[in-house]
């Protein structure tokens, strides 16, 4: 009578969450559709002049992906909370922060990574400048895990409430703004021919810090939400 290893628990959790995303794959396409719609509306509203669109392209793609991520954020713990799986997770003999890190990783993999993959297409819709074609996905690769991790802490705090959507957005946005400024700032600097390494390095540093701290904060927040 001894509990299984932590590694086996994490593997079981990752396998389950991936299976669930696959079974609900219709929902999984929502963030991509949302980002696509937002980006496609800009040329219609601003007119098709490539110069004008090129100037705002990186920023718009960043904002669209940020909002799409925000849209998908609530699903992170919602169904687990409602069907009682979250209780079982908290009561498991393994470190909750580690299990939550796995959950967040799967969430990032299934919501943010597809957005990064379509980001060149989004950029093309707005005549993204050629030097940014490689930089934008790189900046997103650093920024989106940050968004997922910071968002997870806020979702954990609000999961026990009904209709927490607006509150969640209010909690999350102040944390998202710096990420947006550094991420889009790097792209804008590159477009203007300025050095752009510093904001990317800042994002990387923040990612390392948040990668360590967010799962712990998330676990503490969930315990509060469940009590």
């Amino acid at each position: 009578m001894k509990p299984g290893s932590t590694l086996a628990a994490c593997a079981a959790l990752v396998r389950r969450d991936l299976t669930l995303v696959w079974r609900r794959r219709g929902d999984a396409a929502n963030p991509i559709l949302f980002a696509l719609i937002v980006v496609a509306l800009f040329p219609l509203a601003l007119g098709p002049e490539p110069e004008q669109l090129r100037r705002i392209a990186a920023g718009v793609v960043f904002v669209a992906i940020l909002l799409a991520g925000l849209l998908a954020l609530d699903t992170l713990f919602r169904s687990d909370y409602e069907d009682g799986s979250l209780e079982q997770l908290v009561l498991s003999p393994h470190p909750l922060s580690l299990l939550l890190a796995c959950k967040i990783a799967v969430h990032w993999l299934t919501t943010a990574l597809p957005l990064i993959v379509v980001s060149p297409l989004l950029g093309e819709l707005l005549h993204l400048a050629a030097p940014l074609r490689g930089l934008l996905p790189l900046a997103l690769l650093l920024a989106t895990p940050l968004l997922s991790l910071l968002g997870a802490v806020c979702v954990a705090l609000t999961v026990g409430m009904h209709r927490s959507g607006m509150l969640l957005a209010l909690l999350v946005l102040p944390l998202y703004v710096p990420v947006l400024i550094f991420g889009a700032g790097a792209c804008n600097a590159a477009q203007a021919g300025l050095p752009f390494a510093a904001p990317l390095l800042w994002l990387g540093a923040a990612l390392v810090l948040v990668l360590v701290l967010a799962p712990l904060a998330c676990a503490a927040a969930l315990r509060i939400s469940l009590s």
Binding site: M1, T19, P93, S227
Partner: protein, 261 residues
Amino acid sequence: MPPAPRQPEDHRDRPALLEARGLALSRNDEPIFGPLDFALHPGEVVLVEGDNGAGKTTLLRVLSGLLAPTSGEIRLAGEPLTLARLSPQVALLSHANGLKPELTAIENLRFAAGLLGLRSGLSPTTALAGVGLAGYDDVPTRTLSAGQKKRVALARVLLAPVGLWLLDEPYANLDRDGIQLVNRLLENHANRGGAALITSHGAYAYTSGTPRRIALRGGNPGGGGPAGGSGFSRDAAVPEIRDGFAAEAAPADRSNSGGEA
């Protein structure tokens, strides 16, 4: 396993698996339950009885470490309770049965086994057969009935390699066979040296052996809930509602007992 015949009393001299001293909980200065003093020894099944809203579910959440008590202490094998010490020893069956509707019964159990470990000698398939659902391995949980879902959740409790079961309304939604099944599972668990705390609002009861009982009588002596102190004459209002909604009254009542946390 020693071949000697095992009586529940055999385990009494071992330290209590779970011990509560002066355990009480209140929310917004309104007492929910307590103060309670009891101990749960290996081989014991204790039944927590109380009406709807008496705080049975809340008591189980406190004992499982999900909720901190307002006063009093919980000891686990003699040591004060912390979630880290508790979790390898307890399996909780709550109203939300913790099953994913999109996954099949066996996938749900495999996940539970990965998360909580596996009782030696059992596999997800045998556990599922053990709760009378042999052949339901690949049926999506979404399509199972409420009673069948409860059985899958019981199989999950059965699989977990733990000594202490906290079962919230294990009889709810179950048919006559299911009730027998729960009693059999509890009896086997007690004979293995495990212990269980189960709640019931009194409609069904643990029949085998002579389980000890803890009666919960709700926090507020008036029993009136938030509306109890108002000037309305409840006796006059109730029959009127019953007449109008006789058909809906019964299921609504049952779901009330479900959401009493």
